[in-house]
């Protein structure tokens, strides 16, 4: 499956089908991430079930603490 993630076309391994799996793939902790798919923000409690489809435009923002 190919998706545009943070502006870049990326080939994802076949087993990644949900937002939760996607975050795990990028090693981003769910609780500190904000995910938008095709300009729709995904509520955190739906990460487990929110499906990803070929061609989706996905934005992932993770919080950091430095300054």
């Amino acid at each position: 499956m190919r998706c545009v993630i943070n502006g870049e076309m990326i080939d994802l391994p076949a087993h990644i089908r949900t937002v939760a799996q996607l975050l795990q793939h990028f090693r981003i902790h769910e609780k500190i991430a904000i995910v938008e798919i095709n300009a729709n923000i995904i509520m955190k409690e739906k990460y487990e079930h929110a499906a990803i489809a070929d061609g989706d435009r996905i934005e992932i923002v993770h919080f950091v603490g430095g300054g």
């Binding site: 923000i41 923002v61 950091v64």
Partner: protein, 338 residues
């Protein structure tokens, strides 16, 4: 007379906006890379008053990106708030600059915000414990605050306006652990300036009563990424910080000596429950009598025992450099200063 002419020519500010900026008070929490740059921009812009809180002193490793400081500040180990205030006053003498050398804990922040009622709070801290305190204080006293953070070449910023936007606790279910906040990943100064550019722009908008950006902005200055996300749907009806059932969890005071590892610095900070300037002087003479060589300036004294350097601030806080181990720091603290 024409000090602010270019800024006034910018139509959304104008002469009227400049007058508004002149009447505003901004509270900057943290005087590291983000704090120094935010403070400088706002002081140059002609803000009326700036209060800047920082717990640390200037070190050589700061000079690469903390733009207000000089080699002399590092040599003298000046507290950042003091050094910042000195340089800010030299940049613009019309601005009232109030430095506070202290740890921005719940008690202090609530005290300062309740007393000063700043118009906006700028987050220039390096950890989420303080940010959650800022978040609660902002809600309790109805003062907007501007989150900003960066690591490596990545940064983000977001404006929290009480009763309008989701708060930080709505967006973050839990506080990110050490790894994500640690300065072991390094940082380059251009991303600092990118975060500061967003924070200062939003602060100026708040000052002139313009509409702030409601979106969460994030970017990677090295890899050329930039995005804005509309997060208004994330506002939570049961948020403990901003909903009707709020309890301000970060403002529950604790009365105990606290030990905290300062990320990536091989340093442990100790904040005693009670200790003031008087005890500081007693401590200083006690150590000198024990034959320990103590270096001091007006704000802190330091001494070295084997491979550990102790820095004791006049507000009672202690930094022990050369360890990441809280147990070891506790032992050393009670051995020499307890």
């Amino acid at each position: 007379m024409d000090r602010y002419s270019r800024q006034q020519l910018f139509a959304p500010i104008g002469e009227r906006g400049q007058q508004h900026i002149r009447e505003k008070h901004v509270l900057v929490i943290g005087a590291g890379a983000l704090g120094a740059a935010n403070a400088e921009s706002l002081v140059r812009a002609g803000i009326g008053k700036i209060t800047i809180i920082d717990r640390d002193y200037v070190e050589w490793s700061n000079l690469q990106r903390q733009q207000l400081y000089t080699e002399e500040d590092a040599t003298n180990r000046l507290p950042k708030a003091i050094a910042a205030a000195m340089h800010l006053r030299a940049i613009n003498r019309d601005v009232v600059v109030e430095p506070i050398v202290a740890d921005a804990d719940a008690r202090l922040l609530e005290h300062v915000v309740a007393r000063e009622r700043p118009h906006v709070i700028i987050d220039s801290t390096d950890n989420f414990d303080v940010r959650m305190i800022i978040n609660d204080v902002s809600q309790k006293y109805d003062v907007p605050w501007i989150y900003g953070a960066c690591v490596g070449s990545y940064g983000l910023s977001y404006v929290i306006v009480p009763n309008e936007t989701p708060c930080l606790r709505c967006l973050l279910e839990e506080v990110p652990l050490g790894n994500a906040t640690c300065d072991t990943a390094g940082i380059i100064s251009p991303v600092v300036h990118m975060v500061v550019a967003h924070q200062t722009a939003e602060a100026l908008k708040i000052c002139v009563h313009a509409q702030v950006n409601r979106k969460l902005v994030s970017f990677d200055i090295w890899h050329g990424q930039y995005r804005m996300i509309d997060v208004h749907k994330l506002k939570k009806d049961d948020c403990p910080s901003c909903s009707e059932r709020r309890t301000y969890p970060a403002l529950q005071y604790e009365n105990e000596t606290k030990f905290a590892v300062l990320c990536g610095r091989e340093t442990v900070q100790i904040r005693p429950a009670h200790r003031g300037e008087q005890e500081w002087t007693t401590l200083l003479s006690f150590l000198t009598k024990r034959g320990i060589q103590v270096e001091q300036n007006d704000y802190l004294f330091s001494f070295t025992i084997h491979r550990h350097r102790f820095v004791v601030f006049s507000d009672g806080r202690v930094l022990i450099h050369g360890t990441n181990d809280v147990q070891e720091a506790k032992r050393l603290y009670y051995q020499y200063l307890g």
